[in-house]
């Protein structure tokens, strides 16, 4: 066992190092762009800050949900509710969860990763992601801009598109 751990240490170090290559690359782009267009580069940083601020609440909610999952939910629970054989209940649950999830999508990826580890199928994960397109809270705003007829048809098609996309991922995903 100890031998295994000793062998894993450099691999872990390498993978941690590799994980920072992408952010370092993006930071490098900022550094290159700054002397060329300082105002825009700083503006970009400001926008990134705003995005982080907007994402902070969903990130906290997502963390809380992951904590509850890790604390109380076993793989058999998730497999039963969101696994391949979960049926209509699983489709409904993942759709409602997707519709209710707020904020930037990347705030919810860690939660989805935990769900997947615990046995959720690719179909249900895709269904969650796709149903984020349905925004009942923003419906009044859409009606103001495009009228109720367009908004209603658009929302119905959002649900249709979400289900079709999830079905395609479920069929072609191939992992579960």
């Amino acid at each position: 066992m100890s031998q295994g751990k000793a062998n894993d240490a450099p691999r872990l170090k390498r993978s941690r190092f590799r994980a920072w290559i992408f952010p370092a690359g993006v930071a490098g782009v900022y550094l290159i762009l700054y002397p060329i267009a300082p105002c825009r580069t700083l503006n970009g940083l400001g926008v990134a800050g705003q995005v982080l601020l907007q994402a902070s609440l969903p990130l906290i909610i997502s963390f809380g949900m992951m904590l509850l999952l890790n604390l109380f939910i076993t793989p058999s629970h998730v497999s039963k509710l969101l696994g391949g054989g979960a049926g209509v209940k699983g489709i409904f649950l993942s759709a409602v969860a997707g519709i209710l999830s707020m904020g930037p999508i990347f705030a919810w990826y860690p939660f989805l990763a935990t769900l997947r580890k615990k046995g959720a199928s690719d179909f249900h994960l895709a269904n969650f992601l796709s149903h984020r397109a349905v925004k009942p809270v923003l419906l009044p705003m859409m009606i103001v801009y495009f009228g109720w007829r367009f908004s209603l048809i658009f929302t119905i098609f959002c649900i249709f598109c979400a289900l079709v996309t999830a079905a395609i991922v479920g069929m072609l995903g191939g992992q579960r």
Partner: protein
């Protein structure tokens, strides 16, 4: 979900064996479709090391649940801490065991035998602290790619003005629908922004087809955030989901506008 079972034969009718390291075969079964992988245990070392080698083998194959006759509590504890569920005192065929597990048929009794640590007996504070550490670790591992994507969104918004994207629209129905879908895939932010941009596009003479496509992909295709999706859900998943959402959005937006205008 993948379930590991020590077995006496390389098929689903095999009997569940008492020990992981002493079984002739190890089955790693996908609980969704019962497809399985057979791992030959004959190559494993003999003696006490065999169990650990077998364990490492099934964990490498992605098993998150182990159904077995017996396992030492000294091994079960660390496995449970790392999110691997172990159910002991399992007997019968491998297929029956998996189906029973899926039904939630292994209650406290099986998991509570002399060999495993009952979850209820673990102090809640300890369990909470373990869950907290695990969640924090999962989150921290995502910090690099999340940071990069947030920085990328800022860069994109600062250097690719929306006016430039408007130049993609030509007045042709199919081309505009495609252009709308592309613009929606590239832009990020609150969907209300897509309504505002959509209204501006209409004022500039772009047809509703392109606007509907942009609004649909705005909320379903996320090209800028794709690195995070890839790192968490895998390249295949991210590619299929985004491409499928993009392709479904194009005919759907045409259909939305067609229905909106009262059909033909």
């Amino acid at each position: 979900m993948k379930i590991a079972i020590p077995a006496d034969r390389p098929d689903l009718d095999a009997r569940v064996q008492n020990k992981l390291g002493a079984a002739p075969y190890l089955l790693v079964i996908d609980s969704d479709d019962l497809s399985f992988e057979i791992l030959d245990s004959s190559l494993l070392a003999s003696g006490p090391l065999a169990g650990l080698q077998a364990l490492s083998l099934v964990l490498d194959k992605g098993a998150t649940v182990i159904l077995v006759g017996y396992m030492s509590p000294n091994i079960i504890g660390p496995l449970q801490k790392n999110g691997i569920e172990v159910v002991t005192s399992v007997s019968g065929s491998a297929k029956e065991a998996v189906l029973r597990y899926k039904r939630g048929g292994f209650g406290v009794a099986e998991n509570n035998g002399h060999t495993s640590i009952p979850k209820s007996s673990i102090n809640f504070t300890v369990r909470f602290s373990e869950a907290w550490t695990k969640t924090a670790k999962q989150y921290l591992s995502l910090v690099p790619v999340l940071t990069a994507v947030i920085l990328l969104v800022g860069l994109f918004k600062a250097f690719l003005p929306e006016k430039l994207l408007l130049a993609l629209f030509s007045g042709n129905l199919i081309q505009d629908t495609f252009a709308g879908a592309l613009v929606g895939s590239l832009l990020t932010g609150n969907p209300i922004n897509s309504y505002v941009i959509g209204e501006t596009l209409i004022e500039l003479g772009v047809d509703l087809f392109g606007v509907a496509a942009m609004m649909l992909t705005w909320v379903s295709v996320w090209l800028i955030q794709m690195p995070v999706e890839i790192s968490i859900l895998g390249l295949r998943f991210a590619l299929i989901r985004n491409v499928a959402a993009f392709l479904v959005a194009i005919p759907s937006s045409i259909f939305v506008v067609w229905l909106y205008r009262g059909g033909m």
